[in-house]
């Protein structure tokens, strides 16, 4: 009885059938999974140019970039000093103020709390600005400082700085 060789052939056939079946199923499912990722037109959402000449010192504006709010703030001397004084090593997400700005007085941030995606308060004069006088997220109580760094509350990271360039003294291109 040539039982053993037969079994080997069966094992081989079984294994190769399962493998090919798995590869085939995967190849079939992939387009469906991938179709749920952002579409090409969504990815192509480009850049925004902003005129910053009308922003007064201490004032902050909110613009929309890729569907998200972006904060552009002209910081006061006090705010810059407060941001610079902090030791980066003391922070949850250590970063120097200098690494977060291109020009000291201009702070550009993605206005989305890094905890669960709410828009922090602090853009309007009447808003709560939190214990560090920057931004305060009302959803779950995260406090950000005048450099947009997380200081207190559940958020794990600093507010993101979007890619931007100064086209000239009065215009920022975001994206």
């Amino acid at each position: 009885m040539a039982k053993k060789p037969n079994n080997k052939r069966r094992d081989f056939l079984q294994l190769s059938t399962i493998t090919l079946g798995a590869v085939g199923t995967g190849a079939f499912i992939w387009p469906f999974i991938k179709s749920m990722s952002p579409a090409e037109d969504t990815l192509a959402a480009g850049s925004t140019e902003v005129d910053i000449s009308t922003i007064e010192e201490g004032q902050s504006i909110t613009i929309k970039w890729r569907g998200k709010p972006v904060f552009i703030k002209k910081r006061t001397k006090d705010e810059i000093d407060a941001a610079k004084m902090v030791q980066a090593s003391d922070l949850r997400d250590p970063q120097d103020d200098a690494d977060r700005v291109q020009k000291e007085e201009w702070l550009v941030l993605v206005g989305v709390c890094t905890h669960l995606g709410c828009v922090p308060l602090g853009q309007k004069v009447s808003d709560m600005k939190g214990e560090y006088d920057g931004w305060y997220c009302p959803c779950h109580g995260s406090h950000y400082d005048t450099s947009g760094r997380i200081r207190k509350g559940p958020a794990p990271k600093n507010l993101d700085v979007p890619p931007y360039t100064f086209l000239n003294d009065n215009t920022i291109k975001i994206g």
């Binding site: 999974i33 749920m36 990722s37 952002p38 579409a39 969504t42 909110t62 929309k64 890729r66 569907g67 998200k68 709010p69 989305v112 905890h115 669960l116 995606g117 709410c118 828009v119 922090p120 308060l121 997220c137 009302p138 959803c139 779950h140 109580g141 509350g153 559940p154 958020a155 794990p156």
Partner: protein, 430 residues
């Protein structure tokens, strides 16, 4: 084909014709006619039937709403307002659907409380319990998806917060979130897929409910005394006894839900959801639907993003293993003098968590949420395993009939209407 198969004979020849080709009539007769229910089952045992009816109501009202709803960010809010103002009886469909969701959760929570208090999750009904938790999970997902569709402020920001939970997962979190949303933030792609999934998930729930019911029918329903049916004396047929009883429960439920639909349709709604979604302004206070609030309270009680997310999901996942955490063989808490009080404490605690989950996470509320979180997990990991060990349960009755014989004498018990005895009701006192 088995030639010796015994075919049920009915008087009606049409039924016989069907039965010979598909034995569905005898199946229904067996499962919903002659099915033996323990005769001591009280009204807590009506909530499974109520939940099924509510599921069907939700599916029907939802289909009719979908006929007038537009899943597009520019039109969704207006289409819902059009349903409310211009579509004939659109307001009724929508109020049935939105309040029906809340009542669905009330019913299912009572159903779960029943299963926990009377130990319905224990051997041999563990798989039944697991299927039930799975239904609960699907329900939460479906209600979350549905809450996004009106595209008001709460819809938008609720969806943003919940999908951001996934970004807490290390390494793949951000990518996973973007994949789920189909965009970098909640947008039109998100609304479209949420609508598609919200439409299909209830049918998945319906399927799992089918398995859930089939599973409970294998070993029969549990009962307030948590003991098995031993003789025919212990049970009554589902038809007509339990069906009539469930019908009474349904009438009471119909009165309750109608009162809300017609006289307080927005009692459980958030005013902010009548403001169209604005991606640039977060409402000062994001409130989840009350029926998800206990889990939201757990999320916020933890001062760490990943930790909060893990504990929130953990609070649901832990339910799956409850049958193995509980070491006691006695099912009903009526016979467990110590565990009974911890169980009551668990329900009160869950309610308190829900209450603080609707309030800002600060000061005393935060403290309550943290204590509640400790009790929630302590109940499962410490109290449940150890109380089963040290507790001396009360003596179980020999049989279900025996309960009646002891408490109110054999004559009343022999009526077998399935009503709980007065003594039992006092003990159940939930």
């Amino acid at each position: 084909m088995d030639k010796n198969r015994k075919v049920h004979q009915f008087k009606n020849p049409v039924l016989n014709w069907i039965e010979f080709r598909l034995p569905i009539i005898s199946y229904f007769k067996k499962e919903y006619g002659d099915y033996p229910m323990p005769k001591n089952c009280n009204y807590f045992w009506s909530f499974g039937a109520l939940a099924t009816i509510t599921l069907v109501t939700m599916i029907v009202s939802g289909i009719f709403l979908a006929m007038n709803y537009t899943p597009h960010t520019d039109m969704a809010f207006d289409s819902v307002e059009r349903i409310m103002r211009d579509v004939n009886y659109g307001w009724l469909m929508r109020y049935i659907h939105s309040n029906g969701a809340a009542f669905f959760f009330i019913i299912v929570y009572i159903h779960i409380v029943r299963a926990m208090y009377f130990g319905s999750y224990k051997y041999p009904r563990e798989l039944n319990w697991i299927l039930g938790v799975f239904i609960f999970l699907l329900m939460m997902a479906t209600s979350f998806l549905g809450y996004t569709l009106p595209w008001g402020q709460m819809s938008y920001w609720g969806a943003t917060v919940i999908t951001n939970l996934f970004s807490a997962i290390p390494f793949i979190g951000e990518g996973l979130k973007t994949w789920l949303l189909g965009d970098y933030n909640v947008g039109n792609a998100t609304l479209n897929r949420f609508f598609a999934l919200h439409y299909v998930l209830p049918f998945v729930i319906f399927g799992v409910v089918g398995l859930h019911v089939a599973a409970v029918h294998v070993h029969g329903s549990n009962n307030p005394d948590g003991i098995d049916i031993k003789t025919n004396n212990d049970s009554v047929n589902f038809f007509p006894y339990m069906l009539i009883k469930d019908t009474v429960a349904m009438c009471a439920f119909g009165v309750a839900i109608s009162a809300v639909i017609f006289f307080g349709p927005n009692l459980m709604a958030e005013v902010d959801n009548y403001i169209p979604a604005d991606p640039l302004v977060t409402p000062a206070h994001i409130v989840p639907n009350w029926y998800l609030a206990p889990f939201y309270a757990i999320l916020r009680a933890v001062p760490d993003k990943l930790g909060g997310v893990l504990l929130m999901f953990g609070a649901i996942v832990i339910l799956f293993v409850l049958p193995w955490l509980d070491r006691s063989k006695v099912r009903s808490c009526n016979y467990r003098p110590i565990y009974k009080w911890f169980m009551m404490g668990f329900f009160v605690n869950f309610f308190a968590l829900g209450y603080v989950g609707m309030l800002p996470a600060e000061g005393l509320y935060l403290l309550i949420a943290r204590v509640g979180l400790l009790y929630y997990f302590g109940f499962f990991f410490i109290i449940t395993p150890f109380v089963g060990w040290i507790e001396k349960p009360r003596k179980l009755p020999l049989s279900i009939s025996d309960v009646y014989a002891k408490n109110i004498g054999p004559n009343i018990g022999a009526g077998g209407t399935g009503m709980p005895s007065p003594a039992m009701q006092k003990d159940t006192n939930l």
